[in-house]
């Protein structure tokens, strides 16, 4: 099978259409299982009580938000290097999901921090760099939306995604440095050895976040493909088939 066959939007579109429900079902199954284990099966934490349970959402969201930025940088590099339109579509399809996970990570972090650290916001190194990552996502989305010419928007977004990806480790390093200069180590959850049940719940939630991102970004990529390829025959036919209302499938 020629892998590059699917680098054409026309062949990728139906493939993505078949994959979306599959990933969505997997995401739902993992989320239900993970949240059930996390909230009902896993025992209370010896130190933190019930509060810690939010970690199942928090860790998955934080992982995803960082990973998605890496994937965006990857597709940007592929797009700029090989000139494939689909890579740029994928980059733009991923960005809102990454920003959303970034926001969830910050929000759940604040909810966890209030009872644990005694404050909604602590200038902790990881929190702060997560906030800056959110700004990078916003910057990418704002830039690609502000440019009217789609081809310029594609490449400009790819450039800023790559520049951001180079800077993410630097930002993280500098913020860690700044943090140790300003304040002592923040309160860390006692006894880092997690019960294996908790670990399972966390892994399942991470998998759910993973499948969710795949499903949503592929669905979004399909919309972008239709919008951008509307001048081609097949896309025009597909748009006509789906009708002006834009049925889900």
């Amino acid at each position: 099978m020629n892998f590059f066959r699917f680098s054409s939007p026309q062949t990728f579109y139906p493939l993505a259409g078949r994959l979306v429900p599959l990933f969505a079902a997997l995401a739902a199954a993992c989320a239900v299982a993970g949240l059930y284990i996390g909230f009902f099966v896993a025992p209370s934490d010896a130190v933190q009580g019930e509060v810690y349970r939010i970690i199942h959402l928090h860790v998955a969201a934080a992982w995803m938000s960082m990973f998605i930025y890496l994937v965006m940088a990857f597709w940007s590099a592929v797009g700029l290097g090989l000139g494939t339109r689909l890579s740029f579509y994928m980059t733009q399809a991923l960005a809102p999901t990454g920003a959303m996970f970034c926001f969830i990570a910050l929000w759940t972090g604040a909810l966890w921090g209030r009872p644990t650290w005694g404050a909604y916001w602590v200038w902790d190194a990881r929190l702060t760099s997560q906030l800056l990552l959110l700004f990078l996502y916003f910057g990418f989305i704002a830039l690609t939306r502000a440019i009217d010419d789609p081809r310029r928007a594609d490449k400009a977004g790819a450039i800023i995604a790559l520049v951001g990806a180079v800077n993410v480790p630097i930002i993280y390093f500098s913020v860690t440095w700044w943090n140790t200069l300003h304040q002592g180590a923040s309160v860390k959850p006692g006894g880092s050895s997690m019960a294996s049940v908790m670990l399972w719940a966390m892994l399942l939630c991470a998998l759910a976040a993973w499948f969710y991102s795949l499903a949503v970004s592929l669905a979004r990529a399909r919309r972008i493909i239709l919008e951008r390829e509307r001048h081609t025959e097949w896309a025009a036919a597909e748009i006509a088939r789906r009708g002006a209302g834009g049925r889900a499938d």
């Binding site: 916003f138 502000a146 800077n167 200069l181």
Partner: protein
């Protein structure tokens, strides 16, 4: 190389002719820095504690304010297109423009910073550390900012978009620059911060002109 020198001298001459613009950016730097005592109080201890950070943040904002002018005039006048059409490598004249921009907008900030440091009760060598940090850091701001300026060239709302794009990238420079003065006041060495700023400057010098040239090609298409 002659192209580099020509573009550099031309941009410096243009900057000199529009020197009132440069003065506005400089006044902005001074005003922002002198607003803080009104907000947080003027006890010498507090001033000394926030001084380096305030001067650095003001320098960041002043650098941001000056960025849109980097390519705007040339894009309007069609100079940018002509330069892109020339057979010389774009990286050369892009670097020259950034250097000229830094000499016109960044260097005055560095020279003025000891005065602001005095307003914040920094003393002696601390002032030198502040200025030296800015000397290493402001070129990074110009280089990284130039990418953002090129990407937002000619867009609506370019100014605020530029802020969103480049301010998160300026954070490391702020951390190490202001951190150097703080470390100095605490009696620690500043070689670590200065090495990191210098390393950042070299990396930005090596990479930013390429990204900037690519972004300018997009803008001119």
């Amino acid at each position: 190389m002659t192209l580099f020198v020509h573009v550099l001298l031309r941009d410096l001459r243009l900057a000199w002719r529009a020197r009132s613009d440069l003065l506005v950016a400089l006044s902005f730097f001074v005003i922002v820095a002198s607003l803080f005592p009104f907000g947080v109080g003027a006890e010498p201890e507090r001033l000394r504690a926030i001084g380096p950070g305030v001067v650095w943040v003001a320098a960041l904002l002043a650098a941001l304010l000056a960025l849109p002018r980097l390519f705007e005039k040339d894009a309007e006048a069609g100079v940018l297109e002509q330069l892109l059409l020339s057979p010389e490598p774009a990286v050369l004249w892009v670097a020259a423009k950034i250097v000229a921009h830094w000499l016109a907008t960044g260097l005055p900030l560095v020279l003025l910073s000891p005065l602001l440091g005095l307003m914040y009760r920094l003393e002696g060598a601390g002032l030198g550390v502040l200025a030296a940090g800015l000397l290493l850091g402001t070129p990074v701001l110009s280089l990284v900012g130039a990418i953002g300026a090129a990407l937002t060239l000619g867009l609506r709302g370019a100014g605020s978009l530029l802020a969103l794009l480049v301010l998160p990238l300026f954070v490391p420079v702020l951390v190490f620059g202001a951190g150097a003065v703080e470390a100095w006041s605490a009696g620690m060495g500043v070689s670590a911060q200065f090495s990191l700023l210098g390393g950042g400057l070299l990396a930005a010098l090596a990479l930013a002109p390429f990204a900037c040239a690519a972004a300018l090609r997009l803008a001119a298409e």
